[in-house]
């Protein structure tokens, strides 16, 4: 079974008196363990599609089936449950909780899952080890660099070992060295844990790591190509 099945998906936003169609009749399937990117210029619909896959938004027409759930048919409770149990998010601007420590930020998804304290601790420390921030556990986001913040965000997205991680322009605020660093980290997690990663990006550095590139243009799929390398 495919992890993601998008069928004839259209997304319209109300705009002024009329409507604006951000996604037009999209069809994609994504399987388990893929490292895939939605690539396209600003305004091409990448974020809109990612939000629907993340059940933060719903299709206007067609279907988006994620882990067997039809996004448009889920109740608010069910979509919260899907996000809580199976999805991880990484954002361009990190979106860490500023007054909480690195440890607490990473622990938050586990609190929602109501896991026992001992288990939480083990999982948080392991996630911090993945991103190389074990020694920053007690720091707070304002004391960290941008690269470190994004690594905390990766740890937070990965700590519950979700099936699917959605990353929207994760390198947009980072320099080249940090971009490569976090991409290598995500690549390793994809390889070791078989987590599926879906990116939205127009950054060449990110594109270089992708194993499949889905090009979006004006809300349509322009090209969908699998990269054949080592």
């Amino acid at each position: 079974m495919n992890l993601i099945d998008v069928k004839n998906l259209t997304k319209r936003f109300p705009m002024g008196k009329g409507e604006f169609t951000a996604l037009k009749n999209i069809n994609i399937t994504i399987g388990k363990g893929e490292f895939v990117g939605l690539i396209g210029p600003s305004g091409s619909g990448k974020t809109t599609l990612l939000n629907i896959l993340g059940s933060l938004d719903v299709p206007s027409d067609g279907e988006a089936i994620v882990l067997g759930n039809s996004i448009g048919a889920l109740s608010a409770k069910q979509s919260a449950m899907l996000r809580k149990e199976s999805l991880g998010f990484i954002f361009q601007s990190y979106n860490l909780l500023q007054v909480h420590t690195v440890y607490e930020n990473v622990e938050f998804p586990l609190l929602l899952l109501k896991l026992p304290a001992a288990e939480r601790k083990m999982m948080v420390m392991e996630a911090l080890a993945w991103v190389g921030l074990t020694d920053k556990a007690k720091s707070k986001p304002p004391q960290l660099s941008g690269g470190e913040c994004q690594r905390v965000a990766i740890a937070r997205a990965m700590v519950k070992r979700p099936s699917l991680v959605l990353a929207d322009e994760p390198t947009a605020n980072l320099d080249a060295a940090n971009s490569h660093n976090i991409l290598k980290t995500m690549e390793a997690l994809n390889r070791d844990l078989n987590t599926t990663f879906v990116f939205a990006t127009h950054d060449e550095k990110v594109i270089g790591y992708l194993r499949r590139k889905i090009f979006l243009l004006d809300g349509r799929i322009d090209k969908d190509e699998v990269v054949e390398h080592s």
Binding site: L56, M81, R83, K84, V99, F108, P109
Partner: protein, 424 residues
Amino acid sequence: MIKFLVKGLLRDKSRSQMPIIVVAIGVMLTVFIHAYINGFMGDTIELNARFSHGHLKVMTKGYADNMSQTPNDLALLDSDSLLSSLQREYPTVAWVTRIQFGGLVDAPDSTGETRAQGPAMGMGIDFLSPASSEVERLNIPKSLVRGRLIQNAGEALISNLFAEKLGVLPGDVVTLIGSTMNGSMSMYNFTIVGTIAFGAEALDRGALIVDIEDARYALDMQNAAGEVLGFLEGGFYSDDDAIAIAQRFNALHADSSSEYAPVMKSLSQQGNMGSYVSLLNTWTGIISSIFVLAMALVLWNAGLLGSLRRYGEFGVRLAMGEEKGHVYRTLIYESVVIGVIGTAIGTAIGLFFALLLQVYGIDISGMMEGAAMMMPTVIKARITPADYYLGLIPGLVSTVVGSMLAGVGIYRRQTAKLFKELEA
């Protein structure tokens, strides 16, 4: 989870400390202003009650018609039996007889010639009978500036200001020139034994206080009195209670059309006191509600802004899979905690300042010079039971309602939009 939220609340000063301070200040001002207005308005009424109007006053119909002139030719003739019947019929009210009179005080020099003269506002009160509460009611011991209180017949107290104007000292003898009940002129000598300052400009200009029996001699009013004053239980004026008692009394005497028939009036039914009482009540109400409302708006807004600022955080929490209802409830719980703590602190501080003002007062006599109205020259707050819970309206209710409204956005907006505000 609770621990996580508490940590966030404690660490984020803009989420805890700031709103608590804002709520506390708002509540403090509300409580203090309310106690202050109550004190000022209530004091003015009580001052007028104690010195001239009583909470209730019984007079003859003729006297009542010209009350401002204190026409003692229309005095109550058998005042002692009237007094005892009032005491019997209305035992919860404290009844006292008084004579108010005008006259000229003449201070002679050593040869007996007039040295100085001045118009007096005389008051005959029950000074000498052992059960009398009048000395305390008029706060005379504390108002004494020089000399001593009246201990014997023929003695008088005079306002300190008046004494200075006349150049008399305790021990001097002055002559009261007035008119008897029957309209003829009367002259009566009093020994000044002390001078007093009441702290009310209108009284301190020309007060002359004597025992009521002396006043009766001086004005030829044997067994008569101009007025019988009643003071309600508890010491505070209640317009509804006073009017009810007056109505009951007047119903018994309604059939008599004689000028000498007794009539009872509540403080609010005397002269312009009625409009004053209703003015005071209206203004106490208006000012208090404006203040409560203004504070409510401020705190509501603070609650609203504080929550709007956190849409980004809510967006993240929702993305992590927290349910909307849970995010919303935690927001409300937080605002309840903030509201309760802020209200408690604000009420405590507000009551503390109100208590200071209730005990010590602020002397504003400088501003009251020449005031025709009898108003207290010391402003005091008066803490009423309402002050203990009034702060809850702006402090708790508004803060929580503000957060509730702000929180509606969590439901109404699409989750994806909460992020938009974050990713500016």
